[in-house]
């Protein structure tokens, strides 16, 4: 206490407080910079950890899998039959597969969702088990790449036949054959926990398999693990599959690592995996073609998608089956739910990861940057506490108005898309609408002299609003930083230009003060460079760049799809809540967009330079 007091006294003596206040924008920016560099440091040696199996009971790859030659014949048989019925409708295909499954003594049932998708599922009750827990094997009829999942379904049926012969199961096994890994599967999962009659206990783990070719061989396998709303499967499950693949001598890929780089472990590969992981986790459920594992999110189910890559290579289809078999045996060995290992982690490679304690500071630093810059807005511009108290009513009214508007948009826009027959074009229309809005605010914030004077807000109110918006973003980041780190980090990074607006205003005000008014507007060049207009342009650009819809264009076109990426993302945002219960849309529109609109409003209607400059001049 005494020490703190001494330090405080020293700080006062040296007059550090005013100096620090002036430096707040810089400090805030440094925090943001530190946040990014924190992530960049993580892939360096010594900062990440090697994966390990934390749960003793799993015992991966300790049992021999007999899914070998004789089973290969069955896989081939099923595959040939499946190839023959490729042209048939899914209900017909289901009937045929149902016949096979019943022949092997499995109980089958259907789930029809309100869209009319039929989902066939079969339950194998463990004869000696307690009949209270289950493991799910899912093979969608079409893979996330859109191809016919013939190898996947053939392997799945052959596996069930093989499982049925073994007497080692303590958990029931469920085979699910949905139309795809998107709504059909999600609605099955929801129905399983709410309305289905034929169930087999609580699902401990789920594997979605994709083997989109009729080839006997494949090259390596890829695991997709991101769940909805920032959820991840327990790291033990990931490691189990990794270890089993290692024992089978098959290449293992995450985050789209290519064949050539499977064994590579360098700084750049780790960084790429890390960044891709963050991006993919933030975008889960927004793309139409989902791998299927995220359909299990929210029910305490550890789920991953295992996808065979390549049509010829060193590995054969029974090895693919053996990965599933061994994973199932490991999960079968479990006595409790997955709980030993991490639920929050970022993968750097199949063998390296960072856990939440290590990466969390990145998001915390970012949130602090926003808080600082929010405080800076108030302190630097000497907004009086009295003023805030007096105009709290006004500020809150504006803010609540913006929030309510956003809430209305958040609730109604998805309805338009879901209700129309041509959802693609409605989504496009909405996207263009927002784009126009963004550009309008960009232009208006540059040319805000077009706004009549009587609609203008005074300086203090403007800064209060900006401060509130920045504070809202920091609260959003704080709320998300544990639950959905990826989304928090992405939003924090994308909206960062909003924190530059206040320093831009203040510094150019100072510049304006140092010049005499007569010297202004000498020629066009200085008009652009020195004058408020250049500042206005910068502010406008900040506003433009940090708009959610600008970011949707950037991410969509760069990472999702070259031509239609933005549209895909927009449609995903609008429909993902209803289809998958993915809340990204609400976070974007109620958190990010509302804060952005508040700042945009204050940039358009705010008058931050004129009154201050004029009043100072009057004083002089």
């Amino acid at each position: 206490m005494a020490l703190a007091e001494t330090v405080l006294r020293k700080v006062h003596k040296l007059g550090l407080v005013p100096k620090l206040i002036k430096l707040i924008p810089l400090i805030s920016f440094l925090f943001a910079l530190a946040s990014v560099s924190w992530l960049l440091v993580l892939p360096m040696d010594g900062f990440y950890r090697d994966t390990y199996i934390s749960e003793n009971a799993l015992m991966p790859a300790q049992a021999t899998s007999y899914f070998r030659e004789s089973e290969w014949n069955h896989v081939r048989g099923f595959r040939t039959a499946l190839q023959g019925i490729e042209d048939k409708a899914i209900p017909e295909r289901n009937q045929i597969v149902e016949g096979w499954l019943q022949q092997y003594g499995l109980k089958t049932a259907y789930h029809k969702n309100n869209r009319g998708d039929d989902t066939l599922y079969a339950i194998m009750h463990a004869p000696r088990g307690e009949d209270t827990e289950a493991i799910v094997l899912t093979a969608p009829w079409s893979t996330s790449e859109g191809s016919y999942n013939v190898g996947g379904i053939a392997t799945a049926v052959a596996l069930l036949r093989y499982f049925k012969k073994m007497s080692i199961w303590s958990k029931n096994i469920i085979l699910v054959l949905p139309e795809d890994g998107h709504v059909a599967l999600r609605s099955w999962v929801e129905a399983y926990h709410t309305s289905l009659d034929e169930t087999a206990g609580s699902i401990e783990a789920a594997l979605v398999i994709e083997y989109g070719s009729a080839s006997d061989h494949f090259d390596f396998y890829e695991v997709v693990y991101e769940g909805l709303n920032g959820q991840l499967p327990n790291l033990d499950l990931m490691n189990t599959i990794n270890l089993i693949g290692y024992h089978e001598n098959i290449g293992y890929s995450i985050q789209g690592t290519t064949r050539d780089e499977l064994q590579k472990r360098t700084y750049s590969t780790r960084l790429r995996t890390l960044l891709k992981g963050i991006l993919n986790l933030a975008l889960v459920g927004l793309k139409k073609k989902t791998p299927g594992n995220e359909a299990f999110s929210g029910w305490q189910i550890q789920a991953v998608t295992v996808r065979a890559k390549g049509v010829d290579g060193p590995s054969d289809v029974t090895q693919f089956g053996r990965i599933i078999d061994s994973t199932f045996r490991s999960v079968n060995n479990l006595l409790e739910k997955f709980h030993q290992s991490f639920f929050f982690y970022l993968m750097l490679s199949p063998d390296n990861f960072v856990s939440i304690g290590t990466y969390l500071p990145a998001a915390v630093l970012l949130a602090v940057a926003y808080v600082l810059s929010s405080l800076g807005c108030l302190v630097i511009n000497e907004v009086q506490a009295k003023f805030i108290a007096q105009s709290a009513y006004k500020i809150l009214t504006i803010f609540i108005f913006v929030e309510l508007g956003c809430l209305m948009l958040a609730k109604t826009l998805p309805l338009f898309v879901l209700g129309s027959d041509d959802d693609e074009s409605v989504a496009a229309l909405i996207l263009y609408g927002f784009t126009v809005l963004t550009f309008a605010s960009f232009v208006l914030s540059i040319k805000n002299q077009w706004i009549p004077k009587k609609y203008r807000m005074d300086k203090s109110l403007t800064f209060c609003l900006i401060a509130l918006a920045l504070f809202l973003i920091s609260l959003l980041l704080t709320a998300l930083l544990i639950v959905n780190f990826a989304l928090a980090f992405l939003i924090g990074l994308a909206a960062l230009p909003l924190t530059f607006i206040q320093p831009l205003v203040t510094t150019s005000n100072l510049k304006l003060l140092s010049e005499s008014p007569k010297e202004k507007r000498k020629d066009l060049l200085s008009y652009l460079v020195n004058d408020g207009n250049s500042k206005r342009l910068k502010i406008g650009l900040c506003l433009l760049v940090s708009s959610p819809f600008f970011i949707i264009y950037i991410i969509g076109n760069l990472f999702v799809d070259e031509s239609k990426g933005a549209l895909i993302l927009m449609k995903g945002l609008l429909t993902s809540w209803d289809e998958l219960q993915c809340w990204t849309w609400f976070i974007v529109i109620l958190g990010w967009f509302s804060a952005w609109s508040t700042v945009a409003l204050s940039c358009i209607f705010g008058d931050f330079e004129i009154d201050s400059v004029e009043s100072k001049m009057k004083k002089e």
């Binding site: 009971a57 015992m59 049992a63 021999t64 073994m166 080692i168 303590s170 045996r329 060995n333």
Partner: protein
């Protein structure tokens, strides 16, 4: 002179030869006697306490360890009545067991340890620290079955084998509790005070096992452990069909040696200890003999693992006939027993009656709801009255 000299020389030679001869003979005899004496342990009966303190499927090997020892001591002649077997017993019939009803300790699956005749004395949740300590010190209530007690006396040799998951100076019991090295040492001290053993051979196979016996302070205990402090004990191999490790290294090499001996074997403890090399066990097994007066190279393995062959006449002063008569008297007088029983019954009834009455009070509100409401109103009104009065 010459003759006399020669005769003297001869006689001296003879004498020395005789003397040397007798000393050599004596040495042989003494040695033999010593071996006979020392191996001829004072004990008259053998007991074994075999404990697996872990449960769950992935601890298959601990069950296999303890069942292997069970099989061995039975093979070497200790009857089931003198073996106390404590194990969770959740392996043989585990749904995950690919071979239901079996436990193997080797991937060749040659011997089904669970076989036909297994008498588990403490199973499942009965495997607790409390029960183990009570077993050793024989502090039970009077209703505890004799078959579950360690009925040893001062002439008993006890072999105690423990396996499970442990740490520095503790051994976990079924992931729920743990026994400390001091607890164990104190339990042995009590056993010694109560003359419950002649000699104890304590064997423990767990991580940091040697820490478990370092606090022993009672005499006549020889102890071995599988690993030093800060060392793990390792499993020997997995059965790829069962999918788990089936035996620990230390126990594996113990058994490998014990398989070679039979009831009449003259093998001594040091021969067994010679098997405990780092190459075999992959950790540093510990042997503690300072409490043990005999030299381990003179101690027969069958002193602990086999049943006793010696007979010692009991110096019993009690008149057995009198005792028998006395007992018969009791049997002949059933009325007394019945009355005693009735007393007991009466007490039980009295108890239940009391609790029944108690229940009666508990389960019903005596006051009907409407009356309660009226009472409430009265109370509130009284409160208000008080309020008005309180000026």
């Amino acid at each position: 002179m010459n003759l006399r000299l020669w005769s003297l020389l001869l006689s001296v030679l003879c004498v020395t030869q005789f003397i040397t001869r007798t000393t050599a003979d004596e040495e042989v005899l003494e040695n033999a006697e010593r071996v006979v004496k020392s191996t001829n342990s004072r004990h008259t009966n053998n007991w074994a306490v075999l404990v697996s303190t872990s449960k769950f499927w992935f601890n298959y090997r601990h069950m296999a360890n303890v069942l292997s020892l069970y099989r061995t001591v039975k093979r070497l002649g200790i009857p089931d009545s003198q073996i106390i077997l404590m194990l969770s017993d959740d392996i043989a019939c585990n749904p995950r067991n690919a071979f239901p009803g079996t436990v193997f300790n080797n991937m060749d699956q040659a011997i089904d340890l669970y076989g036909d005749q297994i008498e588990v004395d403490y199973r499942g949740y009965e495997v607790t620290v409390e029960n183990f300590i009570r077993l050793l010190t024989d502090r039970w209530d009077e209703n505890h079955p004799r078959s579950k007690r360690l009925l040893t006396d001062e002439n008993s040799n006890i072999f105690i084998y423990m396996t499970g998951h442990g740490g520095n100076e503790f051994l976990k019991f079924q992931d729920a509790e743990e026994i400390g090295a001091h607890d164990l040492a104190d339990a042995f001290a009590q056993m010694h005070e109560k003359k419950r053993y002649n000699e104890i051979f304590f064997m423990i196979d767990t991580c940091q096992a040697n820490s478990m016996y370092q606090h022993f302070y009672s005499p006549n205990i020889v102890a071995v452990g599988s690993s030093e402090v800060d060392e793990s004990s390792f499993s020997h191999h997995s059965d790829m069909n069962i999918g788990v490790a089936v035996i620990d290294r230390f126990t594996y090499y113990t058994l490998e040696y014990l398989e070679k001996i039979d009831k009449n074997s003259n093998a001594t403890l040091d021969k067994l200890f010679a098997e405990y090399t780092y190459e075999n066990v992959h950790s540093h097994p510990g042997i503690r003999t300072d409490l043990f007066p005999r030299n381990v190279s003179n101690v027969l393995l069958t002193d602990f693992f086999g049943n006793v062959q010696n007979v010692v006449v009991d110096q019993n002063n009690n008149d057995i006939l009198y005792a028998a008569n006395h007992e018969q008297n009791d049997i002949r007088n059933p009325a007394k027993n019945i009355s005693a029983n009735q007393d007991e019954f009466g007490r039980v009834v009295a108890k239940t009656h009391v609790s029944y009455k108690d229940d009666n009070v508990k389960t019903l509100v005596q006051v009907p709801l409407s009356r309660a409401h009226i009472l409430t109103i009265i109370t509130v009104l009284t409160g208000c009255g008080l309020w008005l009065v309180a000026k």
